[in-house]
């Protein structure tokens, strides 16, 4: 099965729904602390899901049906590739939040291709958890002041530092759903 190239994006209806409905809604309903609370819950959920899976299964790539808000290329990830992507993308988002919070321009271009996983490592879960622990501490100490500086997400709109912190939760949640779909597919596909 031939998948689309990385960076091809979402179906237009999905992208426009997220841009015009979901983004304003989360801006109204979320605060920094609410986003952090939900993100912590997601990381706990992911940890509980992945710890039950034998490590060799975590690097097995399967093709799943496209889940909400993930692009076609992402359908072929293993569990550990999802964790790797969350770590790479999370690190990039953290840098963006730091830069925007200092009211500086984030000059580096953010690309979907640039945050794709490359290694599919066996011990990815440890690196993933270590990164998010670091992120939680950063956000807990953050002033929570909204930045005037913004950086555009490749698919959506200009986000300030707060928007990116909420995106961190939404993005992790979307990929947690992907992990659940991968686990289901692993269970269907062979001896697991």
């Amino acid at each position: 099965m031939k998948l689309q190239k990385p960076g091809m994006g979402l179906p237009e209806i999905e992208r426009l729904s997220i841009k015009n409905i979901l983004v304003p809604t989360v801006r109204v309903l979320f605060t920094w602390n609410i986003a952090l609370y939900f993100l912590k819950k997601e990381i706990k959920t992911i940890k509980a899901l992945v710890e039950k899976i034998p490590r060799e299964k975590c690097v097995k790539q399967v093709i799943i049906d496209r889940t909400f808000a993930i692009e076609d290329d992402t359908r072929q990830f293993s569990i550990n590739m999802v964790l790797e992507h969350l770590t790479i993308a999370g690190s990039a988002v953290m840098m963006v939040i730091k830069t925007l919070s200092d009211e500086k321009e984030f000059k580096k271009e953010i690309t979907i291709e640039g945050v794709k996983p490359k290694e599919n490592k066996l011990n990815q879960l440890d690196e993933f958890l270590a990164f998010y622990e670091n992120y939680f501490q950063y956000i807990q100490k953050h002033s929570k002041k909204y930045s005037k500086m913004r950086k555009k997400h490749p698919w959506f709109v200009n986000f300030n530092n707060f928007d990116w912190s909420v995106f961190m939760f939404m993005h992790t949640f979307i990929h947690r759903r992907q992990i659940e779909a991968i686990i289901k597919k692993l269970g269907e596909s062979d001896e697991y």
Partner: protein
């Protein structure tokens, strides 16, 4: 649309609903404090007005959530 995607959208809806309830509770606390301090009687229409104002405030302060430039 597959079952996982439908489930994701439903979960997003549930999160939104839980937060709307949270903001309603916050508005209720504000309103109850106001009626205790000012000595007014409770009026459910005023409570919903307070909630509506809180949401309006969140839409436009500190920035307009619909503007992205």
């Amino acid at each position: 649309m597959n079952i996982n995607s439908i489930g994701t959208i439903l979960k997003i809806g549930m999160i939104a609903l839980s937060l709307i309830i949270l903001w309603f509770l916050f508005s209720s606390v504000l309103y109850i404090l106001a009626i205790i301090i000012l000595g007014y009687s409770f009026d459910i229409k005023v409570l919903f007005s307070v909630f509506f104002l809180v949401i309006l405030y969140r839409m436009f302060v500190p920035r307009n959530v619909f503007i992205n430039s």
